[in-house]
Structures are given as structure tokens and as C-alpha cells.
Symmetry: C2
Subunit: 209 residues, 2 copies
Amino acid sequence: MENQKKIPKPVIKRLGLYYRCLNRLSDEGIDFVASKDIAERLGIKSSQVRKDLSYFGEFGKRGVGYNTYELMTKLEKIIGVNKYWNVIVIGAGNIGTALVNYEGLRKEKFSIIGIFDADRSKVGKKIGKLTIKHISELEDFFKKNIVEIAIIAVPENAAQMMVEKLENLGIKGFINFAPIKLRTKLPVEDVDITLSFKSLTFKIDRELK
Amino acid sequence: MENQKKIPKPVIKRLGLYYRCLNRLSDEGIDFVASKDIAERLGIKSSQVRKDLSYFGEFGKRGVGYNTYELMTKLEKIIGVNKYWNVIVIGAGNIGTALVNYEGLRKEKFSIIGIFDADRSKVGKKIGKLTIKHISELEDFFKKNIVEIAIIAVPENAAQMMVEKLENLGIKGFINFAPIKLRTKLPVEDVDITLSFKSLTFKIDRELK
DNA sequence: TAGATTGTTAATCGATTAACAATC
DNA sequence: TAGATTGTTAATCGATTAACAATC
């Protein structure tokens, strides 16, 4: 229920953290939890937890806290991981291969159902249970499968072209590993581990925390 | 030169983006660049570029812009990637293995010089040019090598213990892949790809950009 | 009831941006 | 000089936090 107020970007990032935290609490057999407890585990303020949740509804009981399982289920729906998402990987290089092998994704409701590469010498090779397909097979693949998310793991110069092709085929969003800003009207999440390393060295040199 | 004013967190994140952008411009043979051009490539405002840079000095020429190579070199020093950093990986699972194989890190001045695991059945196996060592060999390894950064790629329950061990051995900072908040006085950068996926599905469901 | 904790408001804090004098 | 673009100030915008009435 409730307001269609604009959700601040930092809140979106924290939703996943809350969800993860609730999962842990649930595993630990904790049935009720106060915003203060969640905040402590995540190293933030309890008022921030309450404020963030308030964008989506009223999930707590005053004087008591939140029902762990109930809030977890609510967050699951809000984030959209109450169902499996079909994902394809574009680019069977180092990153693409690693992602297909990474079982963590599937656990979090993301199923990689295909991997594609432009290099014909890679086509036909197996990665886990998947066989690398050629880029030219994409169109056909979209006809036979529901594909929602594409992981862009191709070199920089090929990324934008692939994005346009996939947009035309009806993809819904991108996880982008190419070190470039993608031009698209669809949602994109950029991932660049080397940027994290650079933030770290900056902090180390300045003795920041 | 200049002020020891506090650097806003978002600025730290953008430094790497600026550096990357300057690298491209340099490759493209562009000798001078205006803040407007940098901003356009990154999808931000030119005043933000100028303001961000101003925390570290005056690098431009009015009416002209910035000398690409010069600014790149300055940023390199500011970020701290004007030298190589020695990195070890803790945990030879999926993520740890992928990182050792990922040549992108070395290109960005991060050399992985060791990988460690608690599982003795993995010890002795090769990943690229490295041989997996047992956790118990860490102390000795620190005596024989300069180790600055540790990548935590072990399961959640082992992460905090490893952090404390490494802190005692004199590590300077952590890249953390464990889905947990590490308690340490040293700088940490958390990396969690599944969080990016969750932000994406949230946006897809709400038709946000 | 007494104690605890929510949901929300208002105050504070921090980051972004427009605007412009300085100057190449 | 005329035009362009910086570096910086001040205004705006957005996010966090403290505080507290509501209520379990």
C-alpha cells in the first residue's frame, strides 16, 4: 500500500543488505527483531532502517519490532527475488566463465541459461552445463526462451553494439562489466572490481577508514 | 598543494572513473580536454568534475582545459596506482580462483602473489602460476614477502577470524567478498555482485532507470 | 500499566549544481 | 582582444539522523 514517493538511490542499495540480514536472523531462529538490531549488524542507524522501510509500508509492531520471516518475505517481493530471473551472459572470457561457474547467483534466484561469444573458436565448448553459443544465435535463442537480464562481459568496443542488439530483442536490464557507460533507456548496474581496488588504495594511502 | 579538507565519499568513487576516462582520451590521442568533455563521457555535470578535482589541486588552464597526460599522471598518484600493490587471496573457491585468473587486476597495478585455503585437499594445486598454500603458511609468507592487500574470499563464518589474523600480520586493507560486515580498523571495500543483481531487479520491476 | 519500539516529522548534515569572476 | 574554460562560491537539492507522539 502507500505513497508512490520517489525512492532515494541509497535506499535501493540497502534493500539487499536488509534482505540478507533478515535471512541470517531467520537462520539463527530469531523470530522478532528491532530496527536497532538490524542497524547494529549493518553498522548504520536504526532510524535509517525504519525510514528506509517506511517507503514501502508499515511492517513493524510498536513495542515489539518486526516479524523476521514476514519482513524477509516482504523484502523478497519488493526486491523482486520472489521468483527466478533468466539471465544470459554475453562474452565467454574470464568474467563470463567465472559467472557461469558461480553458484552464488543461482542461490539468489538468478539462473544463467545461456552464454554467447563472437569468437567461433569458443563456440561449442562447455562451461558447466552450458554450451557456448555464437552471437548470431541470439535471435533464435530469444524466440525459444524468456530472457530478462543480460550480463555484458565483452570488451569495451563491443559492449554498446551488444546492448543495442539485446534491447531490440526485448531484454529488460543489464549487468555491465565493460568499463564504459552504456547508452540505453533500460536499467543498468555497473560492476567494476578494479574500481573497488582503487578506492581501497586511495584510503590506505590517506589512512582513511 | 592545498587544503586538507575532508574528501566526500562519492568523490573517492569517481576518481577511478576519471582516471579511466583520461586513459581512454590519452589512447585516442587527445592532448587537452575540458571538464565538459569528461563529464559528458561519464554522464555527470562538468561542475562536478571541476569540484572533485579541486579537492586535490588546480590541474587545469582557464580557457584551455586539462592536459590529458598530465592530469592522468596526477590522478594516478592521488589514487595510489603509480606503483604495484602486492595482493593475496584468502580462499581458493570459485571467486578466489577467478580473481587469480583475471588479468585485468594486474593491468591495473594489483599483483596477486599468493592464494591460501584452509582445505588441505586444495593445497598444492596450481591456479595459473600460483600454488595454493595452506592458511598455516601465512605467517611465514608475510616474513618473506611484502603483502599489502588481502582479498577475503572465504565463507562468511571464517571471514572475521581471517581478518583478525591478517591484521596482526600487518596487512593494510581488505577487499571483502564475504557477505558480512567486517570488524576492523583498516580500510575495507565490500564487493557483492548479487547485490547489484538485486538493485537491477528492483529497478526492472518499478520501471526505474 | 510500564516499558519498548515503531513510523514520521523536522532539523541537520552532506553532496550537487548553477553561476560567475578570474584568467588563459 | 574575444572566446573559452577554469576554480570557487553560494544556492539548491537530497539523504541522514534525532526526537517524539503513537501504540503495541
